[in-house]
Symmetry: C2
Subunit: 308 residues, 2 copies
Amino acid sequence: MRAARRVPRGYWKIGDDVAVIRGGRGRVVLKVDMLVEETDVPPGMNHRQAARKAVAMCVSDFAAKGVRPDSFMVSLGLRRGTSQAKAAMLARGFRDAQDEWGLNMVGGDTNEAGQLVIDCTMVGFAERVVGRRGARPGDVAVVTGSFGYPPSGLAIMAAGAKAERGFRARALKTVVRPTPQLGVGLALSRYLTSSMDSSDGLARSIHTLAAESGVGFDLDQLPVARGVAEFAEMNSLSMRDLVLAGGEEYVIVGTVGARSLRAAAKAASAAGGELIQIGHVTSEVGEVHLREGGSMTRVADKGWTHLA
Amino acid sequence: MRAARRVPRGYWKIGDDVAVIRGGRGRVVLKVDMLVEETDVPPGMNHRQAARKAVAMCVSDFAAKGVRPDSFMVSLGLRRGTSQAKAAMLARGFRDAQDEWGLNMVGGDTNEAGQLVIDCTMVGFAERVVGRRGARPGDVAVVTGSFGYPPSGLAIMAAGAKAERGFRARALKTVVRPTPQLGVGLALSRYLTSSMDSSDGLARSIHTLAAESGVGFDLDQLPVARGVAEFAEMNSLSMRDLVLAGGEEYVIVGTVGARSLRAAAKAASAAGGELIQIGHVTSEVGEVHLREGGSMTRVADKGWTHLA
């Protein structure tokens, strides 16, 4: 698996016992995320897309922490008898990832496994890393996009849910080509008091930030993606669940101080994204409520537990 | 999976989207290695041993490069319904590894997979990393131990080969408790002109160093571990293959300049190890020969291809 293109100064080419990269300023930020065919590769996703997705999963975490990723390595588990064509598709997917996010692929490891496994390790450097513990009562709860496409797309792909044509295309695209918000995350890093990614769903992310920061959240509105309400209606699904408990989302969920909200929104917008205000932080530890029809209802800590 | 014990200053506790560690001097050295149950866990190896082995595989590469590992992360694939007891055994194995090699476990990721998969990512820092390309004609070929126990142990475990009692115990131990030579590798780093680990077997390592350095090797003797000749005889196996093409070995294979041989041997010995001179580097690119019974025979590039 030699998909690396460039070898910048201070980096070793792939192929020795170890990968060697130039150090950067600040602390070393690391992430490892394993993509497993059965649970992470929906029907209809090819090997090139799966390879790109494995890297995207790590990029999403870096985006949420406001850290620029520098390099990645992949550890592959391949079925016995995997064709040359499929291996080439994987290599192409890793090159896609390198190009899209300006990354160096610096190492790899290939093994035999019962199904496709792609374990991606990512490394970057940062003086500041946005954690999960900095949310304070009075902070504004924000997201960098709306929710509901990925779970809708999965319902279409895996369960044959019906959908209007344009919605179908948009929803499927978020599944086969998930796009972490790296530029927006980097632009927001100085404003966020806490943040995390939303790969396990919005409700899970909010509850996690609440627990880790020792605060609660009152949400004024759900960030519902366009068409999700109609899609839910058409298929007798719960829109609330599609938005709150869907998962496989690549949106950043976080908090900003009330005074920096305007500057943060401007920075997100300058980076080609958006910042949606969905509520605020309270002092009721672990309590997450949503304003619905004039009253506040409890939001359960429901999360995504993979395809299977 | 929270097996980390200590959280040194500058390190984040396990549990955020990313792992954060203090930077070190020099370049960043990374390694990822995937342990897959079917091919890397022989019958009779328990989960605690498998977890330790997954880390040992990475430590071995760091040892061969003369680099002290700082931290590691693990990405786990677990069968559905893996018992608490087995998960606890894994955690214990990771703690064993932390204690044995002075490592910080800084992150992890747990997934569902069809069989046990442990992907270990290791990181360290170094001003100097010993590569594979520095062997020069006239250099002395060295190994840091003798060969043959692991393949003998595997033949005993997996194929029921017969063995004398003491040999059996020693050989099995090298399989369930592989021990990379970290101290020796660190002590030798300033003397080695090239080196690599021998997880794919001695012949493969020598051929790789030859190809990467653009040299050849003349070997004067095989580093045969005690009892391997008798074991081979007893089971009608090829001793030469057990030593040259076995694999799963954790010995460092490398080259040192003729003038620094004595100092290198002293350093290895001070670190509790040994340095065995097995031959020398020639200018015949890619040619590896072994002196046997007065004549030189070609050593094929035969390597280890896992249990399966």
